[in-house]
């Protein structure tokens, strides 16, 4: 804003008063949210760092320095297996979930009758309580009274122990074929596989909705032009949909990876972290809730957050090269 010399000082004064009043109003409007963030998000980070440096029960017992971190990072610490379980879960769940979601979105984007109904139904698992649906699935997986085993029996297949099964997937498959596998090639536990199947059921509709929005943003002329040039269905997908959808794909992958790295509720309800499903989130919760080790749990939480941050940065790096914005 330019103030000409002919304008009097009182106009400038009035403008300044208005700016100050606007700023005061802004701070007033922001204060409820900001004070809540300061109290329950920013302060806990600092407090958590302080807690992580102590042996902490109900309050601080003794200062340990980096002792909790050293303990968490020791070669025989339970942090490493839990990180392994977290990454296994993520590496299994993310590709399965996203591939199915993308296929479904692509199918649903065609000229389909009842599109809205399909969308509403497939989105339903995401809306409902994770605790309740995990409880339902735990019963579906039950070795004796579960629907899944009764289906297997009807198909003439051997029933499985699902969430109670610690054996690896590859070991079980090889066992069925009469082969014995070395222990390092056991694969994810069957319980982990069962958890991943549940996760797919919950999140496919949600991810599909995101993909559908992304597909809607691709201009229709693109397809028209390509079809006039004689492109077939696969070429349309590979040359137009896939590259133009890449920002959406990147976003969906990012939130799915982060989500799987933090997965907690359903694993807690289905296995309590037993049978190869003790992810880092479960380990942190158990250390705090069951053993009251706030210091050690806080140290673990900082380590997990560092891993999540590293993965996020890495994904952004990859995306910068591959995504067409």
């Amino acid at each position: 804003m330019t103030v000409t010399t002919s304008e009097s000082g009182s106009v400038r004064h009035r403008l300044r008063v208005r700016a100050v009043r606007e700023a005061l109003l802004a701070y007033g409007l922001l204060s409820p949210a900001l004070l809540l963030f300061l109290a329950f998000t920013v302060f806990p980070i600092v407090f958590g760092l302080y807690i992580s440096l102590h042996n902490w029960r109900l309050g601080p017992r003794e200062f340990l320095g980096l002792g909790n971190y050293v303990r968490a990072l020791a070669p025989d610490s339970e942090f490493w297996p839990s990180l392994g379980a977290t990454l296994t879960y993520s590496l299994l769940a993310v590709p399965i979930q996203i591939t199915i979601a993308l296929i479904l979105a692509y199918l649903l984007f065609q000229k389909i009758r009842g599109k809205a109904l399909f969308r509403v139904v497939m989105f339903l698992p995401w809306v409902t309580s994770t605790v309740a649906t995990a409880a339902i699935w735990a019963r579906l997986y039950s070795p004796d009274i579960g629907l899944i085993n009764s289906l297997l029996r009807n198909l003439g297949l051997a029933p499985l122990r699902w969430l109670l099964e610690d054996k690896g997937l590859f070991t079980l498959i090889a066992g069925g074929l009469g082969v014995t596998l070395p222990d390092w090639f056991r694969g994810p536990s069957l319980a982990m596989v069962a958890v991943v199947i549940y996760t797919t059921w919950v999140f496919v509709g949600y991810n599909m909705t995101l993909f559908l929005a992304g597909l809607g943003n691709i201009p229709g002329e693109m397809y028209e032009a390509a079809k006039i040039d004689g492109a077939n269905g696969w070429q349309l997908f590979r040359r137009i949909t896939w590259p133009l959808l890449s920002p959406t794909t990147f976003f969906v992958v990012l939130i799915t990876v982060i989500g799987t790295l933090k997965a907690f509720n359903h694993i807690w309800v289905m296995t309590q972290g037993n049978n190869g499903t003790q992810t880092a989130s479960i380990l942190i919760y158990r250390q705090f809730y069951e053993f009251q080790r706030a210091g050690y749990a806080s140290a673990l939480a900082f380590l997990l957050s560092a891993v999540i941050l590293m993965v996020t940065v890495l994904q952004n790096r990859v995306a910068a090269e591959r995504v067409n914005y």
């Binding site: 407090f47 989105f123 939480a301």
Partner: protein, 308 residues
Amino acid sequence: MADVTAAPLSRAGVRRAPRQSLNRVNPVIYLVLIVVGVASLIPFLWMLLTSVKDYGDVVSLNVWPWPPLGNSMPRFDNFAEAIRLIGVDRDTGLPLFFRHVLNTATVTAIVVASSVITSVLAAYAFAQLQFPAKNALFILVLATFIIPEELILVPRAVMMNKNYLNWYNTLPAMVAPFLANAFGIFLIRQFFLQIPRDLYDAARIDGAGHMRYLTFVMVPLARPAILTLALLEFIWTWNEFRWIQLVTSSSNMRTVSVGLVGFLQTDGGSQTQLAMAVAVMVVLPVVILYFFTQRYFTEGIATTGLKG
């Protein structure tokens, strides 16, 4: 930003042409979609059917034990029996389950109201006002959004114990972390930014200040976004489990999710039909709300895409 405004125009213009020129839809596509749709519903149907079965029919894996296929009658008593087994609230003498529903409804109402109000106010400041440190404060809000909940879970819970806030087992502890959230501020701010500034200038000429303009112009215009936020907050809070479990221990301060997990570890563990009866009662309010308002869910998710 330019293509954001361009996109809807181009979409509206050409949408019809490419779709109609597509060949007849392959029936296999319908088959796949129907299979996936049924798979999405089967666990819910199984829960509903199981919730009214006899223990004997559950154990003998009878999928439909009622006429015309079987001789059992639907057992609606399961609901009453589950509620009886969950126990009685010592304060009021009412069944504990009703207390859990009341607690959940109270927590949800407070969180929805508070997060909507704090988000609308903060979003207005970020979208409409000029003030020092605006960018720094916006980055602070952004940062709270990126921080994993795991990181602050333990210190937050420690803050609630008797050496600090002494809120353990109280309503303030149950709602505190959810009263404001960055997601809501982003969502509403995004919507406010789309409203033309001319509107404010016109309102000013008519003598309206910021607060009047916010209340009578911006909020009504942003109704879809506000409803989306309110609905998402409703389901997130209704379904919240971990935090409530951490900061409550007395059974009369728990919510339905925590109550359900407790029930699964006691009577519900062996009596699957009773466990499913409780699950039905936990899921039902959310499912009903969702079916009436599903447009706001899917559109809200599609336009903001945030939060897993």
